[in-house]
């Protein structure tokens, strides 16, 4: 996750600073900060004999696991020292001008989150439901992941997609309306990507054909979709809600064997077809983007369209089709809000998730794999806020609900810092 400015490992630390650049202490500082918060804030909370109980089993697993009780204070202290150790190791690595590996950050992040959970649940009779926490986190992440994938496809080919929000919303709308009209949730699943692709096509038309600033088109398209869906919702849909806006939930499909794995089984493999489609899209996209001709050409168009044009790639054609496809992906993700969650359509149902998907994409450095991690991080911290405020934590619920947004800001400012997107994103291409 960290972008240390040191790219090549230089064994000699006495090299001229001007040649290799200054040592970037960001990673050890961030890790040490996490360790200090764990030890000084979380460590001060629980009394010596307090315990925190985690509930790991869920009703449907083959193996039933009893609740796990941990002594709060000792657990926090141990985890705090683990983070401190990681910070020290990061410092050593940075001093030696070597890159800090990603797993170190993951360890620190996990230790930090677990110690926070231990702190929040210390000495309480209520248990912390791990499976529910993770399942809820995934559910909150699904639209974000779809949106982030849409953003990756778009921006990799050189078009900024602020309209993710609108594509999600229109996907939710089309899925709900069509599924209700034909009394089949799978009809909605077909309609959602088509509706999203139509917004994508509008974006492409204005951004490529008329070369309007892409951020402007995106923002305006979002407003347009909010207005349009809101208008139709309060006229056509509410005039005959039974016909146009009846609930049509997608059915849950249990994958045999895999869904029996403790903890992750029920979280990952007892889902609707939409979530399985998401797994497929992420994996295919990760492969296609970096291992296929389509991916190479898409990235070329997004990085250096002139060069791509020179070797005979049709820059604007590719952009148009990729933007339309990206719209379809986001539209499909929007279906999760309505039929994917078993809800009828509601006004402004996407509630700004498209913008957060955009943040996840940037946080994930325009890479499908990392964008998924960022989206999951966001979904997890949001659900953490929900769960903790429902089990009754000492912290006011508003502050807990702010958590994911603050974490994203810290992540953007602390871990990621200056990120570099596709070079040509945002610039229309004209043959000269």
């Amino acid at each position: 996750m960290s972008t240390s400015t040191v790219t090549e490992p230089v064994p000699d630390t006495e090299v001229d600073e001007a040649v290799v650049g200054k040592i970037n202490y960001r990673a050890p500082i961030v890790n040490a900060l996490a360790a200090l918060i764990t030890l000084l804030v979380f460590g001060m909370g629980p009394t010596a004999d307090a315990e925190t109980t985690f509930q790991v089993s869920s009703g449907s697993t083959m193996f039933s696991i009893p609740n796990i009780s941990l002594p709060s204070l000792i657990t926090i202290l141990v985890l705090g020292f683990v983070q401190l150790g990681a910070a020290a190791y990061a410092l050593v690595l940075v001093r030696a001008r070597r890159t800090v590996p990603v797993w170190l950050h993951i360890i620190v992040g996990l230790a930090f989150v677990i110690s926070f959970l231990v702190y929040a649940g210390a000495g309480r009779s209520s248990v912390i439901p791990v499976t529910t926490l993770l399942a809820g986190a995934l559910a909150l992440s699904v639209p974000l992941i779809f949106g982030a994938m849409s953003g990756v496809v778009c921006e990799r080919s050189g078009v900024i997609n602020i309209a993710i929000e609108g594509q999600l919303l229109i996907g939710a709308f089309a899925a709900a309306a069509i599924a209700s009209r034909f009394a089949s949730s799978y009809a909605g699943l077909v309609a959602a990507p088509i509706a999203g692709a139509m917004v994508g096509a509008l974006l492409a038309w204005f951004a490529v054909r008329f070369q309007v600033n892409q951020i402007i088109v995106g923002v305006v398209l979002n407003t347009l979709v909010i207005g349009l869906t809101g208008f139709l919702f309060s006229t056509v849909m509410s005039d005959d809600a039974a016909l146009w806006n009846a609930r049509q939930p997608l059915s849950t499909i249990k994958i045999p064997l895999l869904s029996e794995i403790p903890i992750i089984g029920p979280v990952l493999f007892q889902q609707t077809i939409l979530v399985y489609l998401m797994y497929v899209i992420v994996i295919v996209l990760q492969f296609m983007l970096f291992r296929s001709r389509w991916g190479l050409r898409t990235r070329a168009v997004g990085e250096y369209p002139k060069a791509a044009d020179t070797v005979g790639i049709k820059v604007n054609t590719r952009r148009v089709w990729n933007v339309i496809m990206a719209g379809a992906i986001a539209g499909l993700g929007g279906a999760f809000f309505s039929i994917g969650s078993g809800l009828a359509f509601g006004r402004e149902m996407s509630a700004g998730q498209g913008y957060i998907a955009l943040a996840a994409m940037i946080l994930g450095k325009w890479n499908p794999k990392l964008a998924v991690v960022a989206a999951l991080l966001f979904g997890f911290s949001r659900n953490l806020g929900n769960v903790l405020s429902s089990i009754g934590s000492a912290v006011p619920s508003e502050l807990l609900l702010m958590l994911p947004y603050i974490i994203t800001i810290l992540a953007v400012a602390g871990f990621v810092g200056k990120v570099r997107g596709p070079a040509a994103a945002g610039t229309p291409y004209t043959k000269s």
Partner: protein
Amino acid sequence: MSDTTNPPVKTEEEPPSGDSMMQRIVAGNALISVLAVVIALVIGGFLIAFANEDVREAATYFFSRPMDTISAAWTAVSDAYIALFRGSIFNWEATTFAGAIKPLTESIVFAVPLILAGLGIAVGFRAGLFNIGAQGQIIVGAIFASYIGFAWDLPVGLHLLLAMIGGAVGGAVWGAIPGVLKAKSGANEVIVTIMLNYVAVYLISYTLKQPVFNPGRSGQKSPAVAESASYPPLIPDWLVPGNSFRLHWGVIVAILATMAVWWLMERSTIGFELRAAGANPNAARTAGMSVGRITVITMVIAGGLAGLASTAQVLGTEGALTAGVAASYGFDAITVALLGRSKPWGVFFAGLLFGALKAGGFLMQSLTQTPIDIVLVVQSVIVLLIAAPPLVRAIFRLPDPDRPRRSARTAKKQEVAA
């Protein structure tokens, strides 16, 4: 992501020099703006007709009696737009003069926060910063301004001034965060401002639960702002007798702010640096400007203006801090800034137009059951069309002002975009 916020059409159409050229472009732009509004209203009309129950009922026997459908559609659309006009400009059915011009004053009431927040966003655009955070800046400004307004006890005049400054400072602080983060660590301002909007929403609901803000334990509304800290009504009773206008001195603040921003952008050193950094940050850096410092200053100004927008709400229209005090002004202001092409007076008039649409939309909703969402559709179509003049020209088959250059290029573009 941040270095290309000005529409490319603008640079295309900004002539190198020459007064006649300038005049022609302005005339062309004005025409296109008017046509864009017309098209947007036509599209809105189709939507209204499509959603109208009478029209849909008549459409079931369209082929036997088509005129029924058409006349039902005409009635639905004309009723809605007449209500829109009566709610925003002039209500000829009112019995008093005050009642007749009340819609116009309501339009201005809605326009004031839009103009102020829109100016803030426009300043960001000119510096190449895409500030989506006006919503959060308005909220934090409102918290500051309302606290000073109801909790402090100060003489008339000074109290209002301090509450205004408080609002501006609140907005500026919230705006400074993304500015500083961008300058120090390169954090993308789009993400940070979006996230801060959400943080502000939770902050206001947290604030409203605090004992100071919540003596009535409702958690929805703060105590009313003191008389001494409120904007006085703009039109006194002796001028228009029997008026119940909500119009207040906030509109004067908006006009002054527009002039100040114009001076700042076009005449001051800061404005020059700001525009230079927006046009080409690398060139600005080479010329010895500190782009980081400019980023922070821009965001402080933008946040301050959004904070002033909040004072129009808490010290004027609403008179207290409420959970929905910012409504959707922060987001609408983005479209206002876009429509105004980030020029101070452009933003001013765009704000007036959108304020009128908003005020009229409410009457339209209550009289004809046409949902106010239609206003959003009309607004966004207007902005889209104004951003793409070739499309408007194509619809009306207008000649292109710089035909020889563009026709060759359009032909080529069509070829590759097809």
